[in-house]
Symmetry: C2
Subunit: 389 residues, 2 copies
């Protein structure tokens, strides 16, 4: 697996562009081929998701994507649906294709109508910029950022296949893909059905194991399109896709709203995979663990406590817990239920690191899982206390 | 229902005392009669809970309670159990009763052993102060406070029955009774079994609908003891107990760690009570709603969104949403799925109030529930980032 430059435009045949005006932005991506998507499981699902899901159902093929920041077009009823369709119409008209071969995605405030005049103006500007160079991928990624502080893109080459992705999302991120928009591209020659299967598995171990604040959005969308130029084995493609999705999930956790530190929770020895996932997510999601990470407080009891209420099968007598920081710093805090004495100073050193691995062995079986999280800071509160205005 | 002064000491026959030294404190309560308890459902349960549960099982009768702050005595293995038993032994020796007629409760850092020498000294001081006056109730309540900023006690007289309670807890508070210690007393002449039934129902609608940070503690304990001096109807007692528990839950939410504002979420029109509870708790628990309340941001889409992922049956087309503040301020934001225009300024006014009621009608049935929550502030982060040290 080799990381390469260029984001989605590292995949031959993918063109992109983006423009912004204040909180609003429009990103355009053009690339043709079989496609698959995954969407939020929130019962309140935004209009663009309904439209995109319908379009993918119709053809399983995309020629382009239009996405915007500034307004989520969520909870906007029939007018919202109409606006989302208008957006696919704009892009389809420009590409000279069927409207049902265009996907639409939105992010921003919920419960407000789209400013379609502004969208139209931004679209007109963006379409003239559509091109295939590394800057174009970054430009598209930036156009859909909201509270994101960093551009999040990646591309890899693996056994002749290219996979590239851009992602937007920093808060309201929780299980089952939350306020994130992710656009993935590849040249692996696979059917829409195979793409969907690979996407589902990759999302399960990456975005669905990511949590910033436990809120699940109305707008989460992950789209995968293949230009189909490279013959390959499904397994090779899946390996590359999984790598890309996990790296993007890590980037999102690192850029969690107000986050100053990143921590990954690795659970092994679980009875079932579901147990491992529950335990890993409960730790990543605990406000008390998150604030302890922020404050470099080696209050490891909060970690055990979170595992205890996670719903995972666990036995306090069998659990082992350790921390790992950077530069080989490592400490064992609990060994099969017994507290290790005299290690709190070392634990404190590790808790000061920017990147922390929480390692839990439930001692009950062979299943494992990994979650991606960040600390909870004053800055998170600042960002979210005054978002609408 | 009449609120009276004196906390638990408003119930004739209840004596109390408390002393503190730094983070450690010891509270003693003496009162004899049938008793019932409820405990955390966290799989990691602290030693004092095991001991108290065992004692209640043995006799269903308490003569006294010993409680401490400073150390949770959680995740402390056989030594923790021994320490918890020693504490009941101290109190039993002083009261001249069977050790199994004494309950013990602890709160503080997890994964540390008790400082039993300090507990012994504080106990010796506290026992000389045991008395039956209003100050004694407050003194006991204060002795077990951790990050609490306010004393939380209440007493009522209802149809000749007295019910009084003190509670400790401000963070790590979530469904199913979390890091809270609550000691309830009454003179209603009821059996331990009836007390337990009433307690279960009252806790369900009060402490279990309270959330500060979504973390569930290892130490949550609610104990109810009756001196049995007043003959009464169960229903009358239950009414008083429920009132006391709900008021204590409200006090805890208001005193949530770092909380600057209180909000209550009232869900009606749910298909089932479980749905109503899920929806009400998801809103109270949403970091995005909590920060919006802190920032007086009328970002009501976050409320609808939380209902959407709560797991409750809901139809975006049927939901209605309103806000209520103080002084009769009220606004309707969504009516059966339609956004009400031109009301955001009024919503912003209401969001500035110290106490906010979020009113949700799911429009699907008759079931209802109410949750108790507070905002998420910079101060919450400050408090929890550096708790151990």
């Amino acid at each position: 697996m080799q990381t390469i430059e260029g984001g989605i435009c590292a995949v031959p045949g993918v063109r992109a562009a983006g423009v912004r005006q204040g909180k609003y932005g429009v990103a355009l991506i053009a690339a043709s081929g079989p496609a698959a998507g995954m969407f939020t499981t929130n019962k309140v699902r935004a209009a663009p998701l309904d439209v995109t899901a319908e379009h993918l159902q119709a053809f399983g093929h995309l020629d382009g994507v239009i996405a915007n920041s500034g307004c989520a077009n969520a909870y906007t009823g029939p007018r919202g649906l109409e606006d989302a369709r208008k957006m696919t119409g704009l892009m389809a008209g420009f590409l000279g294709t069927d409207q049902k071969k265009v996907a639409v995605a939105s992010t921003g405030v919920i419960g407000r109508y789209m400013d379609m005049a502004l969208i139209g103006r931004l679209f007109d500007e963006a379409k003239t910029r559509l091109r295939c160079d590394p800057d174009a991928s970054a430009e598209a990624a930036k156009a859909v950022m909201t509270t994101d502080t960093r551009l999040k893109e990646i591309a890899v080459e693996h056994k002749g296949i290219h996979v590239g992705g851009i992602v937007k999302g920093a808060g309201m991120i929780e299980p089952n893909v939350a306020t994130m928009l992710c656009f993935l591209y590849t040249d692996a020659d696979l059917t829409a059905i195979l793409l969907k299967e690979c996407l589902k598995d990759a999302v399960k171990d990456s975005f669905n194991m990511l949590t910033v604040d436990g809120d699940m959005s109305t707008n989460d969308t992950v789209l995968l399109t293949s230009t189909g130029k490279v013959k390959c084995k499904v397994d090779d493609f899946y390996e590359a896709l999984r790598y890309v999705c996990i790296e993007l999930a890590r980037k999102m956790a690192r850029d969690g709203e107000g986050a100053s530190k990143y921590f990954e929770t690795v659970v092994i020895g679980a009875k079932t995979e579901q147990d491992a996932r529950l335990a890993a997510k409960a730790v990543a999601n605990s406000s008390l663990v998150k604030t302890a990470v922020f404050g470099a407080d080696p209050n490891w009891g909060r970690i055990i406590c979170a595992v205890g209420y996670s719903g995972a099968a666990m036995d306090p007598e069998k659990i082992s817990l350790g921390l790992e920081g950077m530069d080989g710093l490592e400490v064992s805090l609990v060994k099969r239920g017994r507290i290790v004495d005299g290690v709190l100073d070392k634990a404190k050193e590790i808790m000061k690191c920017d990147t922390i691995f929480v390692k839990i062995d439930l001692g009950l079986g062979d299943a494992k899982a990994r979650s991606f999280g960040c600390d909870l800071t004053r800055e998170y509160v600042n960002i979210n206390a005054d978002y609408t205005t």
